[in-house]
Symmetry: C2
DNA sequence: CTGTTAGCGCGTTCAA
DNA sequence: TTGAACGCGCTAACAG
């Protein structure tokens, strides 16, 4: 019945109008439900649309209305399981809102991030969701004056109402982890830390240190090895830690990926987890519930946060209210920690 | 010096022209390098752009030129480590080409995928990259008549030059895996298969079966348990397999995630890998090199494939040549397989 | 309820 | 080398 010749040139609204014998505005009204139109014409127009295979041109529409219907999402690594969860949450939060995400990766490189912002602005995104990254705060603040900005994983002061930054108390979570270990009798606890220029990594290190000191155990720099948040650095760091501290009974890794590296290093050295060495990670990656043994880790509700942030910006855009949300870090107790065996 | 008041309304090219005391066309020419413009005016215009904080409106430009500069990328799950790698490759393949990706997830649901396509068309993407999914072939073919289409992970006949589908020989790889196991003396090999409606899963099962039969071992349906490509199904399937087949000495999982589940099930049952049970996965996820023991798996060069596909569509769009690419599946031998111990 | 008229911001003729 | 005028496809204001 309805056959559209695969024409090279897309069909326009005007052509539909001509085909249906009505004016362009009428077609537009039907498309957008802007006004009542007689049923007969509606039918004609719908038939014409079907026959011609008409697809509205989003650019023309955006140009005319001044609304792009898209929100920019700046992530750091499109393949990251960590940010991936947040992206999934954002997608679901945007679903049905009429807005669609425009996702670009910044690769933790400021100039990549700047390019992304430029692309967002030239594409006239109506709001921005930023996952981590290194964009200078003043730039974020300036953006927040132009459109709703929602930031995940960084604490940024956004004076503008309509914008927000959602960050978790990494230091507190790390503090809790170390106390948990201390409570189980561990005294010499190694720490695989993250990059020095990464705020979360620093916060976790600070929590580690503070917990120790609050309990009266001096902080020993030698028990901290710096990694880069990837598996190999965890593996190497662990080898080093074990070699230098034979009496170490637990390792707290600043993220799960490095904990995986640590796990393998221990396996190679013939050390059992948790009997010989307790291990705690951070992030609770999907795979962490299936390592052997399942890894005790700190869960960050990335998907929920992403979802809420998406709903937040939509609420700003549509002038709705949104119930506040206080995400919580949660220590997922699994099987990679055991009480210290007395010597 | 250059202060742009954070005006609500974006600056337009016309305003820049007025500020610089030239005509809009001149500004346009400078922006696009379309023609020679006197140095003095160039300076004035650049100053005006700077002063006003002008950002070109991509919609208006697209409307005028008829080119959107974007390529649609249909993935299935934005948080999937598997497709994530491909997305990363696509990003890098597009980098510097002037095109930017518009990424939407189809969630393996045909109607979500249809919506994504609609959004792509209304956003006038100039090419399409499709990662897996369930879109009917005829629809893909029809799309391929309108624009370059590159498909990953499905073998689809695209008569149109300018389009392509890149798929790996999953059956062959599975065949090789099982032969590898057979060569190591394993005779009762279990298989954790994937969803019945998933072409790759079926191909892997077929390879498993064919390898067995080609070597003179009858295919036993009881040794196959169907999963859903996620960890829990691998765990449960393995428990079931082990309970029903105490003489089984190896498990071939149709993907790594299920293999992780299997690994944990074996751990819970006190079975060692690889001493008591050999285990092989498929996909070679980033984490698979760090499981204990590291998992032998089939690597799919997702990032490379994504990269090449991106370059392919860009080549189509710009009328360049591109060197062909034949991706290869590769069995990554690690430590989760051991020769069968004689009883 | 519907058609006509003006733009939306930009690129691109066509003259000058 | 530059400007004026027109059009890309669509929505919105204004009549009728």
């Amino acid at each position: 019945m309805s056959q559209s010749v695969s024409s090279r040139q897309p069909v326009t609204l005007a052509e539909v109008a001509r085909e249906a014998g009505v004016s362009p505005s009428t077609v537009s009204r039907i498309l957008n439900g802007t006004a009542q139109v007689k049923a007969a014409k509606v039918a004609q127009v719908k038939a014409a649309i079907e026959k011609l295979g008409y697809k509205p041109n989003a650019f023309a529409r955006s140009l005319a209305t001044g609304a792009s219907g898209s929100v920019g999402v700046l992530t750091q690594d499109i393949a990251s399981p960590f940010y991936g969860d947040a992206l999934g949450g954002i997608e679901s939060g945007l679903m049905g809102s009429g807005y669609s995400p425009l996702i670009i990766s910044g690769h933790w490189r400021t100039d990549d991030e700047e390019h992304a912002i430029e692309l967002f602005m030239s594409r006239r995104v109506e709001a921005l969701i930023v996952l981590g990254g290194h964009l200078p705060e003043h730039e974020l603040r300036q953006l927040a004056q132009q459109l709703p900005v929602a930031i995940l994983g960084r604490r940024v002061d956004l004076p503008s109402a309509g914008s927000i930054s959602l960050a978790l108390d990494n230091q507190r979570a790390a503090y809790d982890v170390v106390n948990y270990l201390l409570d189980r009798g561990h005294r010499r606890i190694g720490h695989l830390s993250g990059p020095r220029d990464h705020a979360d990594a620093l916060a976790r290190l600070a929590g580690y240190r503070q917990a120790l000191e609050d309990r009266g155990f001096p902080f020993q720099p030698g028990l901290v090895v710096q990694g880069d948040f990837h598996e190999p650095s965890g593996l190497i760091g662990t080898q080093q830690l074990v070699a230098q501290h034979p009496d170490m009974t637990a390792i707290f890794s600043a993220n799960d990926q490095m904990a995986y590296g640590a796990r393998l290093a221990l396996y190679r050295m013939g050390l059992r987890v948790p009997e010989d060495m307790s291990l705690v990670g951070f992030d609770d990656l999907p795979g962490s519930a299936y390592t052997t043994p399942p890894l005790t880790s700190v869960r960050q509700p990335m998907a929920e946060m992403g979802h809420w942030l998406a709903r937040f910006v939509v609420a700003q855009l549509t002038g709705q209210e949104i119930t506040p949300f206080q995400p919580q870090l949660e220590l997922r107790l699994r099987e990679s920690v055991a009480p210290r065996r007395l010597p």
